[in-house]
Symmetry: C2
Subunit: 287 residues, 2 copies
Amino acid sequence: MTNLEQGMWFTEISERDGSAFSLRINKKLEVKQSPFQKVEMFETTDFGNLMVIDGCTMVSTRDNFFYHEMISHPALFTHENPKNIVIIGGGDCGTLREVLKHPSVETAQQIDIDQVVTQMSLKYFPELCESNEDPRAEIMFDDGIKFMLDAEPNSLDIIIVDSTDPIGPSEGLFNRDFYASCLNTLRPGGILVQQSESPLMHMPLLLDIRNAVRDVGFTDLQTITFPQPIYPSGLWSATLARKEGNFIGFRHEDAANLKFNTEYYNVGIHLGALSTPNFMKRAFNKR
Amino acid sequence: MTNLEQGMWFTEISERDGSAFSLRINKKLEVKQSPFQKVEMFETTDFGNLMVIDGCTMVSTRDNFFYHEMISHPALFTHENPKNIVIIGGGDCGTLREVLKHPSVETAQQIDIDQVVTQMSLKYFPELCESNEDPRAEIMFDDGIKFMLDAEPNSLDIIIVDSTDPIGPSEGLFNRDFYASCLNTLRPGGILVQQSESPLMHMPLLLDIRNAVRDVGFTDLQTITFPQPIYPSGLWSATLARKEGNFIGFRHEDAANLKFNTEYYNVGIHLGALSTPNFMKRAFNKR
């Protein structure tokens, strides 16, 4: 916590970016050191509750909808008939909730290594956990890398890697071995979704992700962008990678006739997110 | 300047939002108190040079392209044949540069009240000022409100209000009297563009702007969104208001065959910016 003149603030200093972001807080709610990471909860003055993991802002009540909707719905509306979904990470359960809004989904397995994240979310973000009891949901606390290695080949339609940054426990989720096991586990036409950091701040990392998934054999890529105010630069991305064949649009009509509530996502937003800013196009074309 | 553990940082505390944003700086370059406001220049470690006015981050070398492109090109590609443009504010000259990229433009007048802003920009953002000597450009230092009152009726195609927040010298740029004089000065089919703050953080203000321009007689509105990392929430907006008739698309083909360089804007980005997130739609429909 930092003392910025008046009041108490939580500040995330992003040394790699030369930037910092602060939220004013009413009080610290709870802190737990799990075997994997330090999880802190704050009550902010304007963003609702805030979860911080190892010093990085992860989830706030007010703005998590951008990330959770955009890591889920574009992929689920791109796949022709998504039935079997795996979420690696995602312990706050917000992505699980979005995934389960799709009636085609038959199973949604969430594998986060750290059950403290889910315990905290149940307590401080109950709205994100409202689908945890859905009979299609299975919530596991285990090593996502091992889970993917042991999973049955050709058994999944979508794998969403909803992880923290590639340092600490998530490091192994950003490499070729892991992506190769994801490829193996997806059915043809299946989609891997990886949160791929800020295109403005972390282009080298985004390019590494794109190269790695291509190298292991994914045949087409889409990097989408969306706002995420509490993350560095406020502009975030997710990269969708397809097993076999090319992305050919998405289920436009289903997206245009949404049968569930969203705060950000709609068919126009999906189209917009697919529009790559020129500075990103140039970076992608260089490699 | 704030001392965040290591190094020196410039921090903008947004009291109204309960958030703060900091950039790490190498050194303070210059500070001038003009008759209107305090203008500070910093050299940052990762964002190039930074201009701060009355404590608020205004322009950085690294990320100003989002704002300058999006306050200009969507309007200039929406108008059928934009010839006569006025920029109210915009003293850093970045908007002027973007406007002058359009070959149809015959005159572009920039009226900022504070010449210190332009002096600083010439020195620290020379790239933004590279079109200042264009024979179509006229740079004035005067009161924008008075300028619009005195301007000839039906003489302009686009008015861009590229102002600071509605406190201090810019307060008078966010009210009905000013908008009415803009309406009077535009030709039929003309467009007023107003920077309209963060849709996530400042929805009441955005709604006020939309209501005010409608009240004075503008007949159609478009609020577009775009990233702006150094502004509160990182998600910003501009509102386009049309004199007589409705917006019917934009010059898609011209935008698709861009004859000049941009970092962010392209035809897909324009389409995406026109897609209103659901939370904004709901707020707009309530009024």
